[in-house]
């Protein structure tokens, strides 16, 4: 007999297709597939399109599963999907990719999800009328099931509006895996940020070198304790790279608080009180990013 994950030879298809399945699986959550794109008979690519294999397009041949069982005998599991599936995750995913190759692409084979044996069904609810992972308001909750550290970060006081359900992880990441770093939707991290923050793109007359190279040199895009999602409080963030002759890198301690001599290097916007154009300046006198 076959053991879970090791099925190599496939059983036969059922005798009547979906009519066999629906005779038992008549609950609303199963039947909701008929309100999803998967249950559209006029779409030739749909599992219920003309000539397709209906339920068994995805779940695999179901003759054994739908056949008679003796009293006390456990009903054989379906081939694909579910904890007792007989196929390996790679083979289960192959069922999906067979139709969704253009959506997923084979680059997913080198992606972190594939490398960690994440199945399509771990994220997608293929029967749902509105798959939660495809809805902005609910997508993050699906991702956070595994990416718990990112969920923690999303709750920080300065974060993208993921917690409020107004932005999804897919705005920046392609969960199907790409040849890009961090499975980003654009070729580089900066290109990804510029999708919504094109005002920082330039190219400027006066550039700020770390900005041109990598936004994450200064920002934590998943959330931060610091305004602007900065990775560290200014002026320390700036002093990590700047210690200039004539503009000394002063220690900003409690002497600079309102109770002492309020320091323009510490309070307000700190260095940005003057060097406001930190993403670059297009002013002829803007070399110090003050114009």
């Amino acid at each position: 007999s076959q053991s879970p994950g090791d099925a190599t030879t496939l059983p036969d298809y059922s005798r009547k297709g979906a009519d066999t399945c629906i005779a038992c699986h008549e609950d609303q959550s199963t039947l909701s597939v008929f309100r999803s794109k998967h249950g559209t008979p006029r779409d030739p690519a749909s599992p219920f399109g003309h000539g397709q294999l209906q339920c068994e397009s995805c779940h695999g041949p179901g003759d054994e599963h739908s056949g008679r069982v003796r009293r006390g005998q456990e009903r054989p599991a379906v081939l694909a999907f579910g904890k007792q599936a007989l196929l390996t995750i790679e083979k289960q995913n192959a069922y999906c990719v067979d139709c969704h190759a253009a959506d997923v692409g084979f680059a997913s084979h080198a992606g972190a999800h594939d490398m960690n044996s994440v199945s399509c069904a771990d994220c997608h609810s293929s029967h749902a009328e509105h798959d939660p992972v495809l809805q902005t308001a609910t997508q993050a909750e699906v991702c956070f099931d595994c990416h718990q550290q990112q969920r923690t970060q999303s709750m920080k006081p300065y974060a993208h509006p993921v917690r409020q359900g107004k932005m999804d992880c897919g705005s920046c990441h392609n969960s199907h895996g790409q040849t890009t770093d961090l499975m980003l939707v654009r070729q580089t991290l900066n290109d990804t940020c510029f999708d919504c923050h094109a005002e920082t793109r330039g190219p400027y007359l006066w550039e700020h070198a770390p900005v041109s190279e990598d936004c994450s040199n200064c920002h934590d895009p998943h959330g931060s304790n610091q305004p602007g999602m900065l990775s560290m409080r200014a002026p320390l963030l700036c002093q990590g790279c700047h210690s200039e002759d004539g503009h000394p890198s002063l220690p900003q301690d409690e002497r600079g608080l309102p109770s002492g001599i309020p320091s323009q290097f510490l309070l307000g916007q700190s260095c940005l009180n003057c060097h406001s154009e930190v993403h670059g300046s297009n002013h002829p006198s803007g070399s110090k990013l003050m114009r």
């Binding site: 008979p41 084979h109 330039g202 190219p203 560290m232 990590g240 210690s243 900003q252």
Partner: protein, 676 residues
Amino acid sequence: DTSGWACELCPFEEGYQADYDAGATYVSDDEARFGHATGYDNKGAYANVAGNGSYTKGGYRLDWLFEDLGLSSRFAQLDGNVDGRFGFSIGYREQPQRQFSSTRTVFTGAAGELALPPGWVSAGTTSSFPQLATALRPVNIESDRQILDLGADWKANKKIRVFAEFQRQNRDGVKISGGAGFTQASLLAKFIDYETDRIDTGIQYADGAATLALNWYGSFFENRNSSLAWQTPFATAPGAVRLQKATAPGSDFQQLSLSGSYRWNTWDTVLAFSLASGQGKQTDALLPYTSNPNIATSVLPVTAMDARVDTVNHALTITSRPLPQGRVVLSYRYDERDNRTQVLSWNRIIADIFDAGETEQNTPYSFERSRFGISGELRVWRDIRLSGGYNRRILKRDYQEVAEQTVDAGWAQARWRPLDWLDLRIKGGTDERDIDRYDETVAVSLGQNPLLRKYNLAYRFRSYGEFSAAITPTDSRWSIGTSVLLADDRFTKSLLGMTDSEELRVTLDLNYAISQRASAYFMAGFEETDALQLGSEQFSSWDWKAKHEDSFEHLGFGVHWRSENEKIDVHADYNRGSGETTINMDSLSGSASRLPDLESTLDTLRASIAYRWNDRLQATLDFRFERFELSDWALVEPDTMATVLTLGAQPYDYDVWALGIGIRYSFGNPNISIPN
């Protein structure tokens, strides 16, 4: 033989089916931050309108979804499809960004010109402004995005798909922006008016063995307020009353890419590649050297920059399974940013005050970044998988202290699934960033302390370890997930700058099925990052050090209960996020001191009860509460600093609740029924 499958029991539906929500929400207080992203920023009543539905007839299908129509966070989406071959989508959404409503400014005007009130008497310090108290007027720091999405796609056949997507994103509102004089500055309420058009279009081919896609991407950014002028409130040099700076210039970026993959049956080998070439441009007219008529300046070398960046991105990955139990991945990636902007000489005018009598050249930064990686995975036993990898990243750049750096990274992971319901994973690795040399002559030419090693250019050795466990017993009511990450960064060759950083992250998730109709969850997360930084006020070796400790805790729990007759549905979720930043300073010129902790605590509670009268009608009661307390010593009164006039933003400190009632009505068939 499946040709005879009739699917007589399949409940294919035609016609109209939809759920619509209508109701109202009352918000207890005016609080801009509560309205951040949600749109509930003012006290009072809001209309709640939402819905979703579909219409199907023959091969035609329309799906729609809309939310929060009565709010400034509204969202609407319409998708259409014909026989699964032709599809289109229209989407519109708004995103309110609310930062401060406590801010005040003395400036009047809008767009690119801010003026002081009539009769303003300037002075050398903020506390000496005689009209300050009377001139301050409220200004909210907030902006709104409006995003329109249009898309269409056509499947020529099972293998070929053509698509085009267009997005127009407008953002307008007010941001904080520093306006510098020579020794004084004003924080300005800067009006922004951005428009970005984005186009993605392409053609894709996919069959059982290969995919190929040719895409064009264009992004076109326009800033309708491309400069900002303001009158300085401070006593200043003659002619330096009206100051001006440039804001973000309009720009465009276009990229053509070809990507594809091919799969061989031999060893289940997959090759995937991507080739992309792009160009970014910026040609906005330049402002004059200065707005000060008393400074005689030479003619600008050009009236507008012909700023141009060429980009190249290549990637190749090969995955193969030479053994049934093993997989190998080879990857290569190359990213290039070639800034071809002309290098010109510019006079140096300092803060519209004086001509430094020097010229300086712009530095168009370019870089090449390449990465090669190899990794493998082997199932050594039925339940144990071992994997490991190595990658080398090389970064070459110009005009900076470090021309070439190499990062060698290695990792190993073991994953053990002794039982179907137990998944354990442990991973560890190191990451060494080495540099060819830190060119101190470049540092000196930029006026920087030659002992400083910039954060992103310094030698760094990182080591890290991770552990995670997922316990999901099939027959148990409990499921548990937990993870721990520990990372340590050492900048051992830095005499100034960051020298040490440690990070700890811990998470815990518990889920409990109380019964078939009730469930509860608990989740917790903790993060801490400690960094040590050395600085020098004497432009010599270190004479001060700072320890920056950043921590954050998140706790959340909730319950869901549904009555036996499924008429009542109750949800309740509570979250608390607490952040704390501690900065300890120790300087040779002063003494050890600790800045007051920067603290934030955000409590959110949301509870809802839905009562279903029948299959079509449902009533909902929704309650949300938010408390946000922030302590931040950087937020000070307008005249706290002698030489910086601020907007006087106050730390968040509010309790706001919102109560909503509504009804949902279902049209069409609320339930799917099997044909008799």
